[in-house]
Structures are given as C-alpha cells and as structure tokens.
C-alpha cells in the first residue's frame, strides 16, 4: 500500500527530478521567441508556435517527441516528408505579384547577387569545421526565406532545423535595422539620389499567366533537384494569375497557409531540445546566418552599382539591397532610404521588382545548390 502511494507521488515529482538545466534555458529561449513574436511583432505567425513548441519539448518525461508523441507525428508527417514548407510555398506564390519584375526584366538579375550570401557563407561554414551538409543548410539562411531553409535543413541537417528556422525568420524582421547601414557604406550620396522615374504598366495578362509556367519549366530543367520548391511557389502564382480558381487561391493563401504555418512552427519548435540546441555550433550558426544576409545585401548593392555604370547612370544602386527575398520589407527600406536623399525619388516599384526577383532568385539559388550537390554525388 505504502509502496503504491510512494510510486504515485513519484509519478508527480519525477518531472522535477528529471529537469536538466538545458531544459530550463530552452524554456527561457521559447519565452524569448514568444516575447519577440507577441510584443515586438517579429514574424509572430512563426515565432509564436515555434516558441511554444520549444517550451513543450523541453518539459521532461512528457514524451511529445517520443515515438507516439503528437509532436513526433506532426514532425514525421510534415517535416521529414518536406511537405509543410512546400505547402506554405503554394500560399506564398498565390500572394506574390511579379508584375513589377516583369515590367523591367533586367531587374531580374539583381535576384542573383542578392542570394550570393548563401554560397559565400556555405564556404565559410566549411572553413569553420561544419560538415558539408551542415554548411549547405546554414547557407540557406541567406535565402532570407523560411520554406527553402526548412526544406533543405529538414533534408540535409535535421539536427540544425530548429536554429536555422529561427535564424531565417528572425533575421528577415531585422532587415530594416541593418540594411540601411550597408547601403550607406557602399554607395555615394550622388548615387543614392538617382531618380529612376516611374514604372509604367506594360505587362499583358498573358505574360503574367505564362511567367510561372516558364519559370517552372526552364528553372526545373536547369535545376531539377529544386523543382519541388520552384514548382509549388509557381503553382500558387499561376492560380492567382489565371483568375479561374479563386477558391483555391484563397484557400492557399488563407486556410492552407495558416494551418500549415501553425503545424510547421510547432514541429520546428519541437526540435529545439536543450541538449541539441545549446552548443557553440548553434551560436556560430546564428552568426553565420546574419553574415549571409549582410553579404546578400552587400553583393546586391555592388551589382546594382555595376548596373548603374552599364546603363549610363539610370539605375539607383540602392535597389540592389532589395534583391534579397525579404518581400516586401526590403523594398520599403529602399524606398525610405531613397527618399531621405531625394524626396522626389519614388523607388518603391523598382525595388518591388528587385524584391520579386530576389524571391525567385532565392528559390533558383537553392534549386541550383541542390542540383549541384546531386551532380557531385553528395546527396
């Protein structure tokens, strides 16, 4: 009898006896993510479920990530299968407007240097003794887009999925804080004042409908390993532009995107176990991720300076900073910075074009990276 009572009490106290210091730290990290999401408005749709998932998984003996735990079921169903980021990408595609990009196709090129940070940081991560697959996964933070980072990390370095996802989504929100400094350092006052004129509406509906098809087929043939990412974002965009499946478009950008975002967030949070997360490697990862996005901005601005020279001064180099995938935040930063130096300068639509190019560029860059890896026999 006493033994039974003792066992009963043990069941109620064993949680406390199995609590590790790393669990407490990670619960604090989870609370920090909740604070950033709720109070500061940093990507709350992702940081709130990630933060909560992080707290849940660090409660000892709950077994939520054990074989039949509900977080394990969600993780296996959506993260291991790579389904969640792809479904979110359908929603993102249906929310994207590539019109400003199509009005001035040469702006498309800014999407390339705007994602060079991916490759540069990949090389740096290798030099810092990360494995090849870890370095590739860390580099994708430079895509400045959640779904590609989640897709690659879940496939190549699942033990880094938590920090990579948190880094990718958090740094997107920090874009307005660090981009202006980089833009100012790399451009002269005269360059910042360049007026690019007004963008006129010159794209036919047929072109807008064909754009996602063309990008899918050509991009898919060049980089087939990345077709899941490319195909899903372009499917969403095609549905939007064709105009005949508005129910599916609305479902993609609302119900599907919202449900999957919740499940993705909580599943990613579930990977943030203290013993795996709290390492020097994770700290380095956060530093490398931040560097990737800074390099994206720098490369974008430098390339835009080259375009300025080649076009005889028609391109304002500030729009190069919008060549990253932080859509549309980066475009707004460029508009604001441009107006600081020339109140008559309306760079927003040009920057939106560059930003849309960055969106496509990030998917193409990750697709190219996966295809090169496949060609080399690494995956």
């Amino acid at each position: 009898m006493l033994e039974a009572i003792g066992s009963g009490f043990y069941g109620l106290t064993s949680g406390f006896t199995h609590l590790h210091w790393s669990n407490l730290v990670m619960m604090a990290v989870g609370c920090l993510l909740l604070y950033l999401g709720v109070k500061k408005g940093f990507e709350p749709l992702l940081l709130v479920p990630i933060g909560f998932g992080c707290i849940l998984v660090n409660v000892p003996l709950a077994g939520l990530m054990e074989k039949e735990g509900f977080l394990r079921i969600l993780y296996d169903a959506g993260i291991l299968t790579e389904l969640f980021p792809l479904l979110i990408f359908v929603g993102i595609g249906s929310m994207c407007d590539f019109g400003p990009l199509m009005e001035n196709p040469k702006i498309f090129l800014l999407g390339a240097p705007g994602n060079f940070g991916i490759f540069l940081v990949l090389a740096l991560a290798l030099a810092l003794d990360f494995t090849k697959l870890e370095a590739v996964s860390i580099g994708t933070i430079g895509a400045c887009d959640g779904p590609p980072a989640v897709y690659v990390a879940s496939r190549l370095a699942p033990h880094l999925l938590g920090p990579i996802t948190v880094a990718a989504y958090s740094y997107m929100c920090l874009v307005p804080l660090f981009q202006p400094t980089i833009m100012k350092l790399l451009t002269s006052k005269k360059e910042r004042m360049i007026d690019m004129g007004v963008v006129r509406k010159t794209v036919s509906k047929t072109t807008k409908i064909l754009f996602p098809l063309v990008v899918t087929v050509i991009g898919g043939i060049i980089a087939p390993a990345g077709l899941p990412l490319l195909g899903t974002i372009m499917l969403g965009n095609f549905m939007k532009e064709c105009g005949v499946v508005s129910r599916l478009t609305k479902a993609s950008e609302n119900e599907i995107a919202n449900i999957v975002t919740l499940l993705l967030g909580i599943s990613v949070g579930a990977t943030m176990d203290g013993k795996v997360f709290l390492t020097a490697q994770t700290l380095m990862l956060f530093g490398l991720g931040f560097l990737a996005i800074c390099l994206d901005t720098a490369c974008g601005v430098l390339f835009a300076k080259l375009m300025r020279v080649l076009t005889g001064g028609k391109v304002n180099p500030l729009i190069g900073a919008a060549g990253i995938s932080a859509f549309p935040m980066s475009a707004r930063v460029v508009q604001k910075e441009g107006q600081k130096y020339n109140k008559k300068n309306y760079l927003l639509m040009h920057a939106m074009g560059a930003n849309a190019g960055g969106q496509v560029g990030s998917v193409i860059a990750v697709a190219v990276m996966l295809s090169v890896l496949k060609g080399m026999g690494v995956i």
């Binding site: 196709p105 390339a112 240097p113 063309v214 991009g219």
Partner: protein, 44 residues
C-alpha cells in the same frame, strides 16, 4: 572530396548557375513581353 574543393565548386558553380538561370529567365520574359504585348482594351 575534400572541403576546399567542395567549397570552391559550390561557390563558383552555384553563383554562376544562379546568375545564368536568372539571365535566361529574364531574356525569356523579355521575349514573352514582345510576343504578347500589353493592350489597353485587353486589360479593360
């Protein structure tokens, strides 16, 4: 394959591949705009 070779390959081929892909796509979009020009009536 050693890390040095892997890193250089990824940087060179990756950056070049991304740039060329976007260049090709940009040219195709320009061609599409010429093939299917914007018409005021169509958009009305």
């Amino acid at each position: 394959m050693d890390n040095w070779t892997f890193g250089i390959t990824m940087v060179v081929v990756g950056m070049l591949g991304t740039f060329v892909s976007l260049l090709v796509l940009g040219l195709v979009i320009s061609a599409l705009k010429k093939l299917f020009p914007y018409k005021n009536e169509e958009e009305g």
